[in-house]
């Protein structure tokens, strides 16, 4: 027998009350833990994917849309940009040291086919699992998840569909131009896992009009065989979707480049860092509202704990008097009340943490089914320890008044009344 087992017996005696208090506290903590874990993982994911990309240049439109489309591949392009103008930027040795071309517009089983060059997988430090990196037009290297989900293997061929997502009931496949799988990447846990990479000229080939095809354009043959940089190719009549600037020539270029881009009529520069901050600010408002909801739940639970302990104290006045009579000091009774509240808070925090992690795991499973984002409940943040400590703290705080009253229990008066 000790104070802990005594508190445990009291809590068990009032099972329903204890259960409800723990549940209420657990729900509050769970909501906050859920938000913390999701926010952390989304931000982490977003920041990983944007890694090292200083600027994105695309067609005029929403800068956020340019970022979401070109970096995260979750939105549509704002349009295409002439290759000539993109080359003008990429080849400006005063400003740009490294630029990655992007050409979007097709998909295979909802996985985006991205026309680019070897610098994109290199930027994400992607490693080959099988085969080789695409070199010629119509060769593709698959992201790890694409290979796993589509079952495509080295040597397989497929036709792409027009658009960034497969339209239900519509056949928009490009017949006559088959892509050939030449390589599969190892999982990189970046956006690359969900992309099909190919050379930019593949797009020009696939999207060339039938008339152009029939003319047996001499250039097409060269496209099939070239591995030269997009920035050096003949640009006449050609377009890409966007370009990622991953290295400036000098720090000043960060300021000068957007100015230069804005002078070229159809181009727009977007800074991932700025757009992400703006996005997180917007998401943050929703998160703040949900967090407030979570804290309100915790507040209600703490109030409920206070009421439960206060009522329990009234019901247990004679118990406390008897315990004093049996030798319990005032301090011991004070400690017992605090311990009970701490136990409630501890259980609430434990339930909340478990619920929060479980909910994230379920949400992660749902999200992975819908191919949106990867979330897992199997991570633990230091902030959760702080949250647990906070809950314990307010739990103890809620018990202070009942504990103080138990401290001042007048044994003689209570025993004399014989309640």
């Amino acid at each position: 027998m000790n104070l802990l087992s005594l508190s445990k017996h009291y809590l068990l005696q009032n099972r329903l009350n204890t259960f409800l208090n723990v549940l209420l506290l657990g729900l509050g903590v769970g909501v906050i833990v859920f938000l913390m874990l999701v926010q952390y993982q989304l931000e982490d994911k977003f920041r990983k994917d944007v890694k090292g990309i200083k600027m994105v240049i695309g067609a005029k439109g929403s800068p956020l849309q340019i970022i979401l489309c070109s970096v995260y591949h979750i939105d549509n392009p704002t349009g295409n940009i002439p290759l000539a103008e993109a080359q003008q930027i990429a080849n400006d040795k005063r400003l740009v040291k490294k630029a990655i071309p992007l050409a979007l517009g097709d998909n295979y089983q909802n996985y985006r086919i991205v026309g680019t060059d070897a610098s994109l997988p290199a930027h994400y430090e992607a490693k080959l699992s099988k085969g080789s990196m695409f070199e010629k037009a119509m060769e593709v290297t698959l992201g790890a998840k694409v290979a796993q989900e589509t079952g495509l293997k080295i040597g397989d061929t497929f036709n792409s569909s027009h658009g960034l997502q497969q339209e239900e009931g519509m056949d928009l496949s490009h017949e006559g131009h088959s892509f050939k799988v030449v390589g599969i990447l190892k999982p990189s846990f970046s956006i690359l896992d969900k992309l099909i990479l190919t050379a930019v000229p593949s797009f020009w080939l696939v999207h060339a009009s039938h008339e152009e095809e029939e003319e047996n354009h001499p250039e097409e043959d060269s496209l099939h065989h070239t591995a030269s940089s997009v920035w050096q190719m003949p640009s006449e009549g050609k377009e890409i979707t966007a370009m990622l600037i991953t290295e400036y020539q000098n720090p000043m270029a960060a300021m000068n480049l957007p100015r230069q881009v804005s002078q070229i009529g159809v181009l727009q520069a977007a800074s991932p860092a700025m757009e992400l901050n703006r996005l997180f600010e917007q998401i943050g408002i929703g998160q703040q509202i949900a967090s407030v909801f979570g804290f309100i739940l915790i507040g209600i639970a703490v109030l409920s704990t206070f009421i439960a302990l206060y009522n329990a104290l009234k019901a247990r006045r004679y118990d406390l008097a008897v315990m004093r009579n049996l030798g319990a000091s005032r301090l011991k009774l004070f400690g017992m009340m605090l311990l009970e509240a701490s136990l409630l808070a501890f259980l609430g925090a434990l339930v909340g943490l478990s619920l929060g992690h479980l909910a994230v795991e379920v949400a992660g499973w749902q999200a992975s089914v819908q191919e949106k984002v990867y979330l897992t409940g199997a991570i633990f943040l230091v902030e959760e320890l702080w949250l647990g400590a906070l809950v314990l703290g307010v739990g103890v705080l809620a018990a202070l008044l009942p504990a103080w009253q138990s401290y001042h229990t007048e044994v003689a008066d209570i025993l004399a009344k014989g309640e």
Partner: protein
């Protein structure tokens, strides 16, 4: 044993207790008679160190209570004084055995479940250690409270109205039980009651109605 000298106690400037002198020896059994409001319970509380008298001195087992701090008095009471109330109040969330062990824990003495069981058997409750208070009859509850009071082998065993609301036979049984337990543990027994039926079991009787006196002088 206990000894009282020049004890006075007041409630809101009204004197409720005035005992010039009283000494009860070790293992003696005495009865304190008095009507409601005569100050019996107040005297018991003062003897138990629960209440501090307005003036005067009280020694229990050779210890002057007024010299002890409140915390020390709590510990002294736990080890030296066993208290039995009119209502045998047990902690409802604990079973019989746990209620007894609690008394040992709060007194700061080693928890001895075997001793608890021996005492329960002695009081005819050998099969009830796992029973919860709500599963026991009133008589069984009273016996558990006696077991709890004698468990720490106190020098002074105090009972406040232990026979109230009991029939004659049960009242006689409780008194015999208390006397037997006090004798067994060589404790001084003091019973406070207004129940005249109890008188026949005692030779040392004090009356607290109006003034503190020997029962023989009142009757």
């Amino acid at each position: 044993m206990f000894e009282i000298a020049a004890l006075k106690h007041q409630y809101q400037h009204q004197e409720v207790l005035n005992i010039p002198e009283w000494k009860v020896s070790k293992a003696d059994a005495c009865l304190l008679l008095g009507n409601s409001g005569s100050g019996k319970t107040t005297l018991l509380h003062i003897l138990a160190g629960i209440r501090v008298p307005s003036s005067g001195k009280v020694w229990v087992n050779h210890t002057l209570l007024s010299e002890l701090s409140e915390a020390k008095r709590d510990q002294f009471r736990a080890k030296n004084i066993g208290l039995i109330f009119q209502k045998p109040h047990l902690i409802a969330s604990l079973n019989v055995s746990q209620n007894l062990v609690l008394a040992q824990y709060l007194a700061g003495i080693p928890q001895d479940k075997k001793l608890c069981q021996r005492i329960l058997e002695d009081l005819g409750l050998g099969d009830k250690p796992k029973a919860y208070p709500h599963q026991l009859s009133q008589g069984q509850l009273q016996r558990v409270s006696v077991a709890r009071a004698v468990l720490n082998q106190p020098a002074l065993l105090i009972a406040d109205e232990p026979t109230a609301s009991l029939d004659d036979e049960s009242a006689a049984q409780v008194i015999q039980l208390l006397k037997a337990q006090a004798q067994k543990w060589e404790a001084t027994l003091l019973i406070a009651t207004h129940d005249q039926r109890v008188k026949q079991h005692f030779t040392h009787i004090k009356n607290l109605n109006h003034t503190f006196s020997d029962e023989s002088t009142q009757s």
